[in-house]
């Protein structure tokens, strides 16, 4: 029953979808305020990239090719570990970005009739903010898939250019910890968590994630506490939801 409804809606919405330049421009325009915030956070990324001893090219490539803020900050926090934790960085990046799977899945009803190259180019630029704005535009009647591309692309320009500026300006910031800048990661993630708070149902899984992470950080080497805490907390949350 549920499935039949979904596929009906699928056909209905995807038939009417377009992908135009004006749609992309509208998406970009609506995203300007978020692009300004993204620019400022990108500056912080560039400054911290320098602190973590990333070369200019590495900082540019990471922002330009990965383009996923939270996972890039996590990667920086792992970057100076010895020996260099390549596997942990890539695995953690995957775990932190797994939320994109759900976002991409939600595009299916809207994008299924578009040419694959348009879809698979657009999703390269998809971040939480552009996806959320696009879904809200579609909910209000928007039917131009270019919106997602335009919104993601303006955020991309802001993110990459600010990383370059931050990495360069960082030359004059000798010791970020002295100014509390090492706390910027924690503060950003804390603020993002406030936005993710849905109510009491978050309490148990988040407490489990916190306890497992603190214990793992104490007993295990490196930064594996992120994976262990994240997996423990999310499994408890899923079981909790099923009840």
């Amino acid at each position: 029953m549920q499935k039949a409804n979904v596929s009906e809606r699928d056909n209905f919405t995807s038939e009417k979808m377009t992908f135009t330049l004006s749609g992309a421009l509208l998406g970009a325009k609506r995203t300007i305020p978020l692009a300004i915030s993204g620019f400022a956070i990108g500056i912080v990324f560039g400054v911290l990239a320098r602190q973590a001893k990333l070369s200019f090219i590495d900082a540019l490539l990471m922002s330009g090719l990965v383009y996923a803020g939270a996972s890039q900050f996590v990667a920086l926090s792992l970057w100076t570990a010895i020996p260099f934790p390549m596997t942990a960085i890539i695995l953690t990046t995957f775990i932190v970005n797994m939320r994109h799977l759900l976002m991409g899945a939600s595009l299916r009803p809207w994008f299924s009739k578009l040419s694959p190259w348009k879809v698979y180019t657009s999703v390269f630029f998809m971040v939480d903010e552009s996806w959320a704005l696009t879904m809200s535009d579609f909910a209000k009647g928007g039917r131009d898939a270019g919106f997602l591309f335009g919104s993601g692309f303006i955020l991309y320009i802001a993110w990459v250019s600010s990383a370059v500026i931050g990495r360069t300006v960082g030359a004059w910031i000798q010791n970020p910890a002295q100014w509390g800048l090492d706390f910027a990661f924690t503060a950003v993630f804390t603020a993002l968590l406030v936005g993710m708070w849905k109510g009491k149902s978050n309490l148990l899984p988040w407490a489990v994630a916190a306890i497992v992470a603190v214990a793992a950080a104490h007993w295990l080497p490196g930064k594996w506490y992120i994976l262990l805490g994240g997996i423990a907390g999310s499994i408890v949350g899923a079981i909790n939801d099923a009840k």
Binding site: M98, H100, L101, G104, V123, F189
Partner: protein
């Protein structure tokens, strides 16, 4: 100090797995429908991962970090603005480290 090749491979690996997460959801939904249990688990991941990242710093480093995190939460609730909350958090930890030293 790590070699340039190693960091380049790491960044390319990060880029690849991230693109897989961006394209994979759309691609998979064209093949199968994920079970409600899998969907429930995926939804829990971002929050749990972010909690795990900050917990050792916020709960088990020093009083300055704990109080600054609290200030960040209060500002984030009030303003709903990540950028302002970040600036306040950084300023708070800087000030608290001076005071509590």
């Amino acid at each position: 100090m790590q070699s340039e090749t190693l960091t380049l491979i790491t960044i390319l690996g990060m880029a690849l797995v991230t693109y897989v997460t961006r394209a994979g959801g759309f691609w998979l939904m064209g093949l199968v429908t994920p079970s409600p249990r899998t969907e429930a688990w995926l939804k829990q991941i971002p929050g749990a991962v972010l909690v795990a990242i900050i917990a050792p710093t916020v709960l088990a480093s020093s009083l300055a970090e704990t109080l600054a995190a609290l200030a960040t939460v209060l500002v984030a609730i009030r303003t709903k603005n990540v950028l302002i909350a970040m600036v306040v958090g950084v300023a708070a930890v800087w000030l608290l480290r001076l005071i509590l030293k």
